[in-house]
Structure formats: structure tokens, C-alpha cells
């Protein structure tokens, strides 16, 4: 079997290609989420009456989901720590815990949205609700994508292969966590 050689290190920057690529992805994500959040912020400041609509969001569901994502981030960074020690199976187990966190987050979100839609707060119910579903939906899409990639990385980590990817996928997951850290006060607390 021939040895496959690819560029794994950017020599000029002394940073692994994979990790640099993840950071570039995050830069584009900052532009995407930043556009949504900044746009929401300026409209919210321009429309104080949106506070009345925001009063209907479920603070406790949002807080619980924040706790879930923070805990899943802890699992992801512990997986990175295990990978650095060369313990692939442990890293994989912790990554599966991270995925579980994402799953709980989505389940809570689906119950929350079902209730809100039944109450008549749909995407077209007002300016606030348009932003609410757009921002939270875009974030949920990133959670789903992250869960898929983490599952793929965990499957190879379990066999002690490609352990450097554990850190890369963790960086992405922490970013998803940070986005939610800002969405939570914007959509659930400011009323």
C-alpha cells in the first residue's frame, strides 16, 4: 500500500491545515451569524415594541438549552484532552456525549417551537418572530451539521485514527455554543 501524502501543515504559519481550515470556516460563519445578529439588534433597538412579542419566548427552555450546550462543549474539550493523550476510545465516548447534548438541544427546541406555532407565533406573526425563527433555525441547522461531523470523527477516533480531527471538530462545536450564548439574551431575556 502506497503512502498517501497531502499537505497537513502550513509551513509559513506553522499551523496544521485542517485547523486553519476550521478557523476559516468560522470566519465565514461569523459573517453569516454576525449579519443576522447585527441586523436583529438594530431592528430591535428601532422597535422597542418587539419586547412585547419577545415576552412570549420561554426563558426556562432557553436557559436549559444553554446549560445543555455548555455541557456538550465540556464533553468536546475533554474529548480533545483524551485525544491528546492518545486515548481514542475515550475521546470517541466523549464525542458521543457531545452529540447527545446536541440531540437534547434539538428536542427541547422542537417542543418549544411546536408550542409557539400552536399559539399562533409563526414566522409571519411579526418582525420579532421572523428573526427568532431565522436566527434560531440557522443555529439549529449548524447543530445538526456539527452532530453529523462529530459522529464521523468519533467513528475514526474509536479506532485511534485521525485523532487531530477531535480538536478541529471541537473548535467548531464551541463556536456553535458561543453563537447560542449571544442568541439566548437577545431572544429570551431582553423583553
Amino acid at each position: 500500500m502506497s503512502v498517501k501524502t497531502i499537505a497537513t501543515q502550513r509551513a509559513s504559519m506553522n499551523i496544521p491545515t485542517g485547523r486553519l481550515a476550521v478557523w476559516w470556516v468560522l470566519v465565514s460563519e461569523i459573517v453569516i451569524f454576525g449579519g443576522v445578529l447585527v441586523s436583529y439588534l438594530m431592528h430591535r433597538l428601532g422597535h422597542p415594541e418587539w419586547g412585547e412579542q419577545a415576552a412570549y419566548t420561554n426563558l426556562w427552555a432557553g436557559a436549559f438549552n444553554t446549560l445543555v450546550l455548555l455541557t456538550s462543549s465540556l464533553a468536546a474539550v475533554l474529548a480533545h484532552q483524551a485525544a491528546e493523550k492518545g486515548d481514542g476510545p475515550k475521546a470517541a465516548r466523549l464525542l458521543y456525549l457531545t452529540i447527545l447534548g446536541g440531540l437534547i438541544f434539538l428536542i427541547v427546541k422542537s417542543f418549544e417551537w411546536t408550542h409557539e406555532i400552536q399559539e399562533g407565533f409563526t414566522l409571519q406573526a411579526g418582525g420579532f418572530w421572523s428573526y427568532y425563527y431565522t436566527a434560531a433555525g440557522l443555529h439549529a441547522f449548524h447543530v445538526i451539521a456539527g452532530m453529523g461531523v462529530i459522529a464521523w470523527v468519533a467513528s475514526s477516533a474509536k479506532k485511534n485514527q485521525e485523532l487531530h480531527r477531535v480538536e478541529n471538530v471541537g473548535i467548531y462545536w464551541h463556536f456553535v455554543d458561543i453563537v447560542w450564548i449571544f442568541l439566548f439574551p437577545l431572544l429570551y431575556i431582553a423583553k
Binding site: A7, I15, I30, V38, M42, L163, V166, F184, I189
Partner: protein
């Protein structure tokens, strides 16, 4: 400019980062949870400035802690800091460029309602660029055949 190496290696250690410093991640998570509790309880006091500090100020602290300790941004290469700064600067630029217009509720001859709909407040809509056509003036002597 790249260096090449076998792709199928299993080592987590990479020369560009080294091992992440030993940190007590569980303790950091505990602090984040305490900050979460503060951000929930603070706004319940009903005082606006406390709400702003506990909700948004604490969010900034939490985001900083996650970026520093979980993403290890504090030991990341300068190029990463620079590209992140550029993205964040774009956010500030976007806000600075659009906020003066978006946050205005009214202007010369127009005002906005909660649904983003603009309405004209002048008594002569056509002067404010309205869709209603002005009344046709009577034809003058020169216009008549």
C-alpha cells in the same frame, strides 16, 4: 507554502499547536453555569441597567471564557487572531453603516410602523414619492389643438 506528511497518522499532537495547557475544564464549566444563573436571575430584578449587565455583559464574559479555554484561542497562532478580527470588524462596519437608517422610526415625510411598513405623513403623497398620481392639470391654451 506547505510541508507534506503522511495523512494517515493517528497522533493528536500537532507541531503547530503543541499540547493544550492543562486546565481544569470542569471548574471552567462550573463558572460558566454560575454565570448562566446570574444572566437568568439578573433581569428578574426588573432594573434596566442590571438586565443589560447581567444578560449581555455576562454573555460577553461567557463567550470569552469558551473561546479562551475551550477553543484555546489564547495559545492560537497570530494569523487566527487576525482573520477573526477582520470578521468581527465587518460586523461593526455593517452596524455602523446601516444602524443610522434602520433604527430611525421616522424621517422627512415618512414614518415606519412595527411591521417595517413605511407610510407617508405629508398631505401631498406625490411630493413624498407616493404611488398616487397627482391630479391632471387643466390643458393650457398652447396644448389645445
Amino acid at each position: 507554502m506547505t510541508a507534506t506528511a503522511p495523512a494517515a497518522h493517528g497522533a493528536a499532537h500537532d507541531p503547530g499547536h503543541g499540547h493544550a495547557p492543562h486546565r481544569n475544564y470542569v471548574k471552567i464549566w462550573g463558572i460558566l453555569v454560575v454565570l448562566l444563573v446570574v444572566s437568568v436571575i439578573g433581569p428578574m430584578l426588573g432594573i434596566r441597567w442590571i438586565m443589560l449587565v447581567t444578560a449581555f455583559g455576562v454573555a460577553l464574559v461567557k463567550a470569552y471564557m469558551v473561546a479562551k479555554n475551550f477553543m484555546h484561542l489564547d495559545i492560537e497562532k497570530p494569523i487566527v487572531h487576525w482573520i477573526l478580527l477582520v470578521a468581527l470588524a465587518l460586523m461593526v462596519l455593517l452596524y455602523g453603516a446601516l444602524a443610522p437608517d434602520v433604527q430611525k422610526g421616522a424621517g422627512q415625510g415618512w414614518k415606519k410602523d412595527a411591521g417595517f411598513h413605511h407610510s407617508f405623513v405629508t398631505s401631498k403623497p406625490h411630493e413624498a414619492g407616493g404611488h398616487e398620481k397627482p391630479e391632471k392639470p387643466e390643458p393650457s391654451e398652447h396644448d389645445r389643438p
